[in-house]
């Protein structure tokens, strides 16, 4: 095999203008945090400090919630078609400045520019565009029943798709007439802060969108705030359970989008080369920092050897390295903490008896990196087969019959997504009917669209984001 190297093609960092320090965005303006506490946000690919952000405390959250309450008075009197226009304008501004957003996202989060530029940002803009159009059609969205917004909504989002998760949360919440207090993840706050600038630019009424940066303690203040009417959370199942427990007994709406351990089922009658592409995309997209990642490869026994060989060959062509290089397929692990978790689970997998294949590649000296990895000879009870690794690590299990495939696929407390690879239509439908998962990709994987509802069964959470169904997460039946 020819070993032709790609020449570097680095996207310039100069396009982004990062402040040394950021406050919160409350009541339509950036304000100095009352907590006076800051932490650095770094680039996980270089460990270089990018900026420092505030850790919001109780007072900061109080201020933001009070502002959202005031904002609600204006927002609820704003004509729905006017609400739509604000969101359309935001979509347009995001499109115009998408290159800047993409570079910032890759710098702060470590994901390849190819993904932030070609996936995250187009989806973010489309998501605002999509929900803008619903704002003045709520009365016909779900029959003639009377739905109304919750009011002040608290939203807590993760670090894997920082701006995309913001758009999944903020666009439908505002379209349905709620006002928002958003807390981004502490490792990836920068694109949310830039988004706040856009809200100022489009003249969104003060208090409609509020942003408080911080860590888990800030999130906890938000969840426990007495004036919050609904919490929307995306993150780990552990934290999701904690939030559900905290809200027990209170009249607060809740939607949770939690972890996953998706089965990607490859039947022996699948188009194998396409399946290999899908399996690779399913687990190595965004370094595997994807709640719906196809992290369990279920391959039919008679094609295992052939399939694994093809898969390893394809994996070896993945470019790992500088997220700002346009040729990069797999970027940096988002944080030291996450890298430690991945390493720990992979070491346990080896100790348990799994066979580990890792691609040969040189990793940058600084930053957090993990080689794309594949486990074979795995037993169903190994931790690597049951726990969410949230990294570029694929675990292989085998099956003989479709019934067995379904049984293994469903044998998890999670139920977010699943994949099916076969050329037989009836088998796709048979399998899809039996899989306990909110999103099922057949002969494809990791496809997303603002019009397509996303969300889990079982302990992967409840509620849907995206599509007409996503509206229900921000509306309640008026009594």
């Amino acid at each position: 095999m020819n070993n032709w190297e790609y020449s570097e093609s680095i996207e310039s960092e100069k396009i982004v203008n990062i402040e040394k320090k950021y406050g919160n965005f409350i009541d339509g303006k950036f304000v100095t945090p009352k907590s006076k506490q800051y932490i650095d946000t770094i680039s996980p690919s270089t460990e270089k400090i990018l900026s420092s952000i505030s850790i919001g405390n109780q007072q900061d959250v109080d201020y933001a919630v009070a502002s959202a309450k005031e904002g609600l008075k204006k927002w609820s009197k704003t004509n729905p078609s006017e609400r739509a226009k604000y969101l359309f304008k935001l979509a347009r501004l995001i499109q115009e400045r998408s290159r800047e957003f993409a570079v910032l996202e890759s710098l702060d989060g470590g994901k390849p520019i190819k993904e932030s530029r070609d996936f995250d940002l187009p989806q973010v803009a489309q998501n605002f565009f999509y929900y803008a159009g619903w704002a003045d059609k709520l009365d016909i969205s779900w029959g003639n029943e009377q739905y109304k917004p919750y009011g002040v909504v608290g939203q807590i989002i993760p670090w894997n798709f920082p701006l995309l998760m913001l758009s999944w949360k903020v666009a439908p919440a505002l379209a349905t007439g709620n006002t928002v207090v958003l807390k981004p993840a502490e490792t990836t706050p920068l694109t949310a802060l830039l988004f706040a600038e856009l809200c100022e630019e489009v003249g969104l009424p003060d208090g409609v969108f509020n942003l408080v940066t911080g860590d888990g303690s800030t999130g906890s203040h938000l969840v426990n705030h007495k004036d919050i009417k609904k919490i929307a959370f995306t993150g780990s199942t552990g934290v999701g359970k904690y939030i559900q427990k905290s809200l027990a007994g209170r009249d607060v709406g809740l939607t949770l989008e939690l972890g996953g351990k998706a089965a990607n089922i490859v039947y022996s009658d699948a188009a194998l080369d396409e399946a290999v592409e899908g399996v690779v995309n399913g687990i190595f997209f965004n370094q595997g920092h994807v709640c719906c990642a196809g992290s369990r490869l279920l391959v039919q026994e008679d094609i295992e050897e052939k399939f694994i060989k093809k898969l390893e060959k394809r994996m070896q062509t993945l470019n790992v390295g500088n997220p700002l290089d346009k040729n990069t397929d797999v970027g940096a692990i988002n944080s030291k903490d996450q890298l430690d978790k991945i390493e720990k689970l992979v070491n346990e997998g080896v100790a348990d008896g799994g066979d580990l294949f890792q691609i040969e590649c040189e990793l940058p000296k600084n930053g957090f990196w993990f080689k794309p990895s594949l486990f074979t000879s795995v037993q169903a009870n190994y931790k690597i087969a049951t726990e969410e690794i949230f990294g570029p690590v694929l675990t292989t299990l085998t099956f003989r019959t479709p019934e067995e495939a379904v049984e293994i696929a469903n044998n998890t407390e999670y139920g977010l997504s699943a994949g099916i690879w076969t050329e037989k239509g009836s088998k796709i439908l048979w399998t899809a009917d039996r899989l306990e998962a909110g999103v099922i990709w057949a002969n494809t994987f990791n496809k997303f669209d603002p019009a397509s509802p996303f969300g889990g069964y079982k302990e992967s959470g409840f509620g849907r984001e995206g599509g007409r169904h996503g509206l229900l997460s921000y509306l309640k039946v008026s009594s």
Partner: protein, 275 residues
């Protein structure tokens, strides 16, 4: 001639059973006094086992078949209308109010019977994604559902706390307290309507005795509470429920399409289009 009095029992897996504990509580009506089962934690667990099988049995049937079973329930109640009216009168309702309530209950059941094979056309849809994909969202029943009926002396309100979940394919464990005689009487007509075993179980007792188990039992996928329970009870249910990310609905809607939405999961399936 001496009148004989009926002993009301729990209805589990198509059988009329006493509480395994042997415990009862009294419901003292105008004319009659009934000693009915005080459901224990073990009874609840047994009902869940039954309901798990019931979920499979109920879902094996076509929507058309399920629709006819619900319709048959309304036929059964129609045939026994007088006995329901006199039972409600014994609960303190006037004859007219009793009659109206039974008629309303029949109308409610007929409405849901007709919805069984239609709701998915109202809640599911193709999604117009930006690409060459077939993308459809359809719905499935969440699974074993526990419902606490409201304490009102009303057959109509009772069936409204059972039918939304049953309509979409959940198996239901219905729990009644002060209105339990009405629920246990209903079980006789349920028994005559061809419901598969375990698809609908009816229990009586005190909710506080089993609340922790309703919250903590991982096989109960959804708890729908149609009675206004105390803040403390909500806390216990919510805290125990959070351990398995249980779906919990407090005072869900009892009319229209919104009444069934808490009981469904949306499944979205993608497939590429091509040649």
């Amino acid at each position: 001639m001496t009148d004989i009095k009926k002993t009301y029992k729990n209805y589990v897996h198509g059988k009329f059973v006493r509480s395994e504990s042997g415990k009862v509580y009294s419901i003292d009506l105008k004319e009659e006094k009934y000693e009915i089962p005080l459901t224990s934690k073990k009874d609840l667990r047994d009902a869940v086992t039954s309901s798990k099988e019931g979920f499979k049995n109920w879902n094996q049937l076509t929507m058309y078949n399920r629709s006819q079973i619900l319709y048959r329930l309304s036929e059964m109640i129609e045939g026994n209308k007088d006995s329901y009216i006199s039972l409600l009168q014994d609960h303190g309702l006037s004859k007219l109010d009793s009659k109206n309530d039974i008629n309303n209950a029949i109308d409610t059941i007929v409405w849901y019977a007709g919805l069984v094979d239609k709701w998915e056309q109202l809640t599911g849809n193709l999604n117009p994604v930006a690409g060459e994909y077939f993308n459809i969202s359809h719905q499935e029943a969440i699974g074993v559902t526990f419902t606490l009926s409201p304490n009102s002396m009303s057959l109509d309100e009772l069936v409204k706390s059972i039918l939304p979940a049953l309509t979409v394919g959940c198996s239901v464990i219905n729990f009644s307290d002060e209105n339990a005689v009405i629920a246990l009487k209903l079980s006789e007509d349920v028994n005559n309507s061809d419901f598969p075993s375990g698809s609908l179980n009816l229990l009586s007792g005190k909710f506080e005795n089993i609340i922790e188990d309703v919250g903590g039992h991982v096989e109960i996928k959804h708890a729908a509470i149609y009675e206004d329970i105390s803040k403390k009870s909500k806390e216990v249910l919510g805290q125990k429920g959070s351990e398995s990310v249980k779906r919990i609905s407090l005072i869900p809607s009892t009319s229209g399409l919104s009444s069934i939405i808490p009981f469904i999961e949306t499944k979205t399936v993608w497939h590429p289009k091509g040649k």
